[in-house]
């Protein structure tokens, strides 16, 4: 390992390093706190490797531009925060419908509306899931520390290619702005999934939306030898608009099934001391750091606490949460919103009474003392 790969940088910079590692060569974005550093660093880095950076006129244009650039065969990304993420929702649905590999980073801040631009929140979990209209499935990954920001960013690019879909990286202000040590992996340390391109020869009909037996859809770059139509309308295997009920039904099932049926493959999570735990904390993103601190602290005092840290938020890994939390007496979800993941954990555990929420919604990072105080309340000890 060369010492040049040891860094002390912001989470947003780690995301940049990982995106480049994964093969990013086109970024379009619009300035917004607390994600701006991603655009700033890519404005420097992308032209150095012959890639393209463009600051668009708004977030809508940014996501549209990356979708266009993905179709010419590039790995693409945009980065934003809550208000910009809201603006991107229609085009996000387009990327779902047209099956365009792309990565959208949302470094969460307090909302709704302009909210708390410089303060932390995890309030966009459900927006990531249901922000765009219509039935669909989505992949959403998150991370609590810099090595994981790196891994999850690379995974986001890999999953975008594997499933031909937009992938959301849901970071938060604390992870994005915090500086900590990270050792950047060497090339080859993490496998990279390249775009699956069609083997259909020039002059032979290529069907852009006809899945192979394994469900995957090989692509053909715009500007190449296969000319086809891409649309956000319900479309047939040629990519041409269709009103056929069978086509509509088949397409919607395909879009949902290709992700929901792979929930096991997509699930990423970490466990700490959960095997014999009476109480399991479930957390993700920066709040999982405080939850881990509480678990380590309590274990030293002999209390049987464990942590389940989720890194895949969507499709929600209900099966993982269910199996890990099944033996626990109670489960406490630590998050910085009004209980967006808590609702999913309740569904997974199947018993609302044993699932509690430990949260902060005031823009202040939830710290171990906050969690300890809430644990005391749950345990009937008073604060």
């Amino acid at each position: 390992m060369t010492s040049g790969r040891i860094k002390f940088i912001q989470g947003n910079e780690v995301c940049v390093e990982a995106a480049l590692y994964a093969g990013l060569n086109f970024f379009a974005g619009y300035p917004i706190t607390p994600s701006t550093e991603i655009a700033e660093h890519l404005a420097v880095r992308l032209p150095q490797i012959g890639g393209k950076f463009i600051q668009m006129e708004d977030e809508i244009a940014s996501i549209c531009a990356i979708i266009g650039a993905s179709l010419t065969g590039n790995k693409v990304m945009t980065a934003t925060s809550g208000p910009g993420f809201s603006l991107m929702q229609e085009a996000l649905g387009y990327a779902v419908m047209a099956e365009i590999p792309s990565v959208i980073v949302d470094v969460q801040r307090g909302g709704p509306s302009t909210g708390l631009p410089t303060h932390v929140s995890q309030g966009d979990v459900n927006q990531a899931r249901w922000g765009t209209h219509g039935d669909h499935a989505i992949i959403c990954l998150t991370a609590s520390n810099h090595p994981d920001v790196f891994t999850m960013t690379v995974e986001a690019f890999n999953m975008a290619e594997t499933y031909r879909t937009p992938v959301i990286l849901l970071f938060d202000e604390v992870v994005g702005h915090m500086r900590e040590k990270v050792v950047l992996p060497e090339p080859g340390d993490i496998p990279i999934v390249e775009r699956l391109r069609t083997s259909v020869k020039e002059g032979v009909d290529y069907h852009p939306y006809l899945p192979r037996e394994d469900g995957r859809l090989p692509m053909s770059d715009f500007g190449g030898v296969h000319r086809y139509n891409v649309t956000g309308l319900v479309h047939d295997m040629w990519g041409f608009p269709s009103n056929s009920p069978q086509v509509a039904h088949g397409l919607l099932r395909h879009l949902v099934d290709k992700i929901q049926n792979n929930v096991h493959e997509i699930a990423r999570y970490k466990t700490f001391e959960t095997d014999d735990a009476d109480c399991i904390l479930v957390s993700y993103g920066s709040s999982a750091r405080s939850a881990l601190h509480v678990v380590e602290n309590r274990r030293r005092r002999g209390e049987k606490l464990g942590l389940l840290e989720l890194q895949t938020l969507w499709p929600f890994p209900h099966h993982i949460v269910r199996s890990i939390c099944s033996k626990a007496e109670y489960v406490v979800v630590v998050e910085m919103n009004m209980g967006q993941v808590t609702e999913q954990v309740k569904l997974a555990v199947g018993s609302e009474k044993k699932v509690f929420l430990a949260n902060r919604i005031d823009g202040v990072f939830i710290n171990p003392t906050d969690i300890r105080n809430i644990l005391r309340l749950i345990q009937g000890k008073g604060v």
């Binding site: 012959g50 463009i54 006129e57 549209c64 531009a65 266009g68 608009p241």
Partner: protein, 267 residues
Amino acid sequence: MSIRKYIRERFFPHMWCPGCGHGIILNAMLHAIDRIGISKNEIVMVSGIGCSSRISGYVDFHTLHTIHGRALAFATGVKLSRPELNLIVPMGDGDALAIGGNHFIHAARRNIDITAIVMNNRIYGMTGGQYSPLSGEGILATTAPYRNIDQGFDIVQLATAAGASFVARSTTYHVQQLTDIIEKAIRHRGFSVVEVMSQCPTYFGRKNKEGGPVEMMKLMKDKTVPKDSKAAEDHPELVPRGIFVDKALPEYCDQYARVIETAQKGR
């Protein structure tokens, strides 16, 4: 028919109403492309939503039918990532200048090498005849039952002010001129805007008592004049057509190539 090779016959018949002007624009566009002789693999047509935007489905290029108003933003991503491709973006008047107005002026400001064709029928046809930012005052529409009070944009002036390096206007009546202009617009290196006045007999014509397609096209003949002509001077109330701007300005992708050079020097 030399342009037949550009058509996806599989997807015909098209969905435009009888008498719609958009087919004439498609015809002129394909003749212009044929004259230039660009290979089909080197053309990407990007469109948004509306009657006009369905044009992309019918042509045998790389075609990207996107979301309402955002065609130029998608096209910017395609062009910047593959500058050697030819980008043609047909849009409706509402698509280009209401919901898409911001992208329109910014694409013009960047002078990115994209040919924007605004198929201006002054109405939202797909949704059944609502007023657009090009309808102009006094027009009747389903959402202007007491006549429209909104001023209309002048596309030529707007594009010029925003920095487009090629700006022209023609109509579906003047199809020879239209073909020449589209050819020049595609050949032009930089952001080109061609406004094509088109007829919507179904909604605009019927509602505003302009008659059928023939009468509406005759109206375009009568109400427009070649720019800088004696007729234009004598009749300032008539709409001038022709090429208004045609100048060489630094093109965005060329400029970005220099950014790459600079960035790589510093390494």
